[in-house]
Symmetry: C2
Subunit: 198 residues, 2 copies
């Protein structure tokens, strides 16, 4: 993607404000100049008044959380492949493709920046985490319905989700071939050598 210059400030509908503001966050996170991510900077780039942003979202954390939820929902359609292994592989393939793009890495960064960073909000953090792990929970539920036994959520987190986050954070691209398969095989065991079978 390319970063866009600040948008001229014209009258916008609430939905246009939302879209422009979300895009401004992504652009700032991808910006080679590395300008700090602040509400005034976002407002300037989005071409909206910063008071509109404070009124609508209240805080930068809340804006980031809304942006992340919207983007992740729009980019993570989760088709039922018919097996736990197939579903996890599809999730991993989508994640691998995403973190190869600046926008995908920016999204991971936004997820992290939007975490409530207080010592008292363990519950809030856990809630935030469950929202982010919604797609993994869906995969687990489908597996259970089919009569499969999925690994515990925390194990999927450690073995499948965590590597993508860390690679996105440090900008370490995943290996170009076989990486999703490697992670899924480590998680489920290697008894199905061809992950797309049955």
């Amino acid at each position: 993607m390319t970063t866009t210059p600040p948008t001229p400030r014209t009258r916008k509908s609430p939905e246009q404000v939302r879209t422009a503001t979300h895009q401004a966050v992504i652009d700032l996170l991808c910006d080679p100049q590395g300008e700090d991510l602040t509400i005034p900077a976002i407002a300037h780039r989005a071409g909206v008044n910063h008071t509109s942003i404070y009124r609508r979202w209240g805080s930068l954390d809340a804006l980031l959380a809304d942006m992340v939820t919207t983007r992740l929902e729009s980019t993570s359609p989760l088709n039922d492949t018919g097996t736990l292994r197939g579903d996890l592989l599809a999730w991993a393939q989508a994640s691998a493709a995403s973190i190869r793009t600046p926008e995908g890495r920016a999204l991971v960064r936004a997820v992290i920046l939007s975490m409530p960073n207080t010592t008292q909000s363990q519950d809030e953090r856990a809630q935030h985490f469950r929202r982010r792990m919604h797609s993994i929970e869906q995969i687990r539920e489908r597996a259970t319905t089919r009569g499969e036994t999925p690994p515990p959520l925390e194990q999927i987190l450690d073995q499948l989700v965590a590597p993508f986050y860390l690679r996105a954070i440090f900008g370490i691209d995943p290996p170009t071939t076989g990486y999703p398969e490697t992670l899924v095989n480590r998680l489920l065991g290697n008894e199905h050598p061809h992950p797309t079978n049955h």
Copy 2:
């Protein structure tokens, strides 16, 4: 740890400025009020002039990187346990203990915030990453010297390092018993039987 009130601004030696500034970053990252991490906010809390901070570190990223390096070096003594397995286990135990504390989680957050966030700095990111992975590289080198065959760095990253980062980010405490052993067994295989893996 408890957060401290802003320090009165008195004449400080360069080393005192550095210590006070680093502590102010940690305090702000742990602060239940969640004040944004900016150089003026850091200067205020540290009781130093913000121009001193700009002069010394140049940018927030650079300050965070310096703080992280200093803290991680002071808190990660890496004794040679005599085996690859023992060294990795010691690393994992120290990491598990660290992310149970607000300061430990703040440190992980600072590592992430200090990442160069530009699309053009893949090299810079990789360098930053290698500095953060220095202790893991030391463990690998010692193993090779002993005649052991350590897993590739990226595999250690995916299976041992990544889970701690993700748990610190989302505030998900690791299981209270056996977690370091579980991760190391997954990484190295379970030939030294300890029934913590599944």
